[in-house]
Amino acid sequence: MTQDEIVARIQSHFGARVLGTYSFRGQAAVTIAPEAIRDVLTFLRNTPELAFDMLMDVGGVDYLGYPDEDDREWRFEVAYQVYSVAKNHRVRLKVAVRDETVKVPSVWDLFGIANWMEREVYDMFGITFSGHPNLRRIMCHDEFVGHALRKDYPINRRQKLSQPSENLLCEKPEYA
């Protein structure tokens, strides 16, 4: 299926829960509200014709200061790139996050990779994921203040860090 067909399929199934669609150079994406992400990913994974079995990437985008900022209702987006091995097709889901107070439901139990990827989005953008078992910083140090990939974080700011992190263990190995 082409990405546009997949997007049409998502749109017909979720109707008004799809906030917007996007198509460019053969790639397509749907924008959805945070509450819908688990439903949409479950739908994509469990529908036989779609069969999206791999979540390839989760990455944040900060639109603070973007040229269309005045019309934009949300500051952040979290982009989920999904891929189907069996059908060899891809699509992108974008979750619109108004500001850092909005919590995005975690999908770590649907796709194991989301555990670490969501931690990275949290670390870099300060977007929190509800239901995540181990939402700690992953790249930056525990003492780091701010979120490095936000547009209002200056590229040349330096921070002094004093202590190594003590404990890396979780209650259960699958949370790590």
């Binding site: 796709f111 194991g112 890396l168």
Partner: protein, 399 residues
Amino acid sequence: MSADGTRVQDIPTELLTLNIGPAHPATHGTLRIQVQLDGETIVNSGCEIGYLHRGFEKQAENCQYQLVIPYTERLNYMGPVHNSNAWCHAVEQLLDVKVPARAQALRVITSEMGRIIDHCVCIGTNLVDIGALTNFWYMYNYREKIYDLYEELCGARMMVNYPRIGGVSMDAPDGWLEKLLKVIDEMGEAVGEVQSLVARNRIFMDRTIGVGAIPKEMALSHGVTGPCLRAAGVALDLRKAQPYWGYDKYQFDAPIAHGGDTYDRTIVRFQEMQESVRIIKQAVAAIPDGPVMVEDHLVAMPSKDRVYNTMEGLINHFKLVMHGIKPPVGELYSATEGGNGEVGFYIVSDGTPVAWRVRMRPPCFANYSVFPKIITGAMIADAVAALGSINIIAGELDR
């Protein structure tokens, strides 16, 4: 077993927390693994990454598209050319630029050379970790020869900065392709020799079979790609599934195995090196003549002759250096098959010469996320063997 019939495993011991890394010979990079041990068995583990976090994504959002090329090579520094090729490929898709056939073939050749040396290092160091030093010297010997070829091609050995947006920086010098074929032929033989040293080696098999197995379901759920996924029995190779740079013209196989353990990963890598040798031979045989840069003055630098002798060429050069390449407003995810799996670049362009957002999907990050799960229940020595075979490149893991 002791005299009263209790086995050693049954004797309760105090749990011991042990740190492996961030500076440890077995991690081959700055990784930290914390394990909780019951005797020598790992009962719980956690990983800390980020020691090599250099802010690649932030940097890429603050410099022009063509200036990102050298940074991408510092991601996977074991097979660096693939990353820069992949970055240029992503920007070209954004620009909707078609790269000339000769440049595509040169990209395939340099990328496959990168894959071979990446696997050389992975297999070589993994075998050192489990006690076999000889193979390491064999592998590094040929890695050196590939570096010599890179040097002759573009003047640099490791961080070659060879591709450009719209093609490659320079054509192969006279006689280079013939030299490459000779080295590649020897390479194929050497890989076969090293494989025959370990593939049926009792010690190696005992150390690796069933060790650090990634089951198929776990691999898919964790987004594991590349040799680690193929070793688990999923025949996903983007060079075949979603071909780019004319990979569909070449005859090659994507080797798979079914156990997903350390042994299978090593063997899949050995076979992949042979397939890369096959691809390079075909690419060299079928390499077309023609330009190696696209003819588009908005993307490609003018020739030095034009810059020095015509006003238009000088202005063109000035505009490209000072004002950069301007893709249209849009966003795109480009995926290619690197040495360790899917190398993805998600670029959000706002129409300026500097990307609004660059996200790199590192294959190692996904591959490594299964690590705490596969070593729980294993022993320390098994964790070391498994770590080497997953091939974690800290530069790519942390970016």
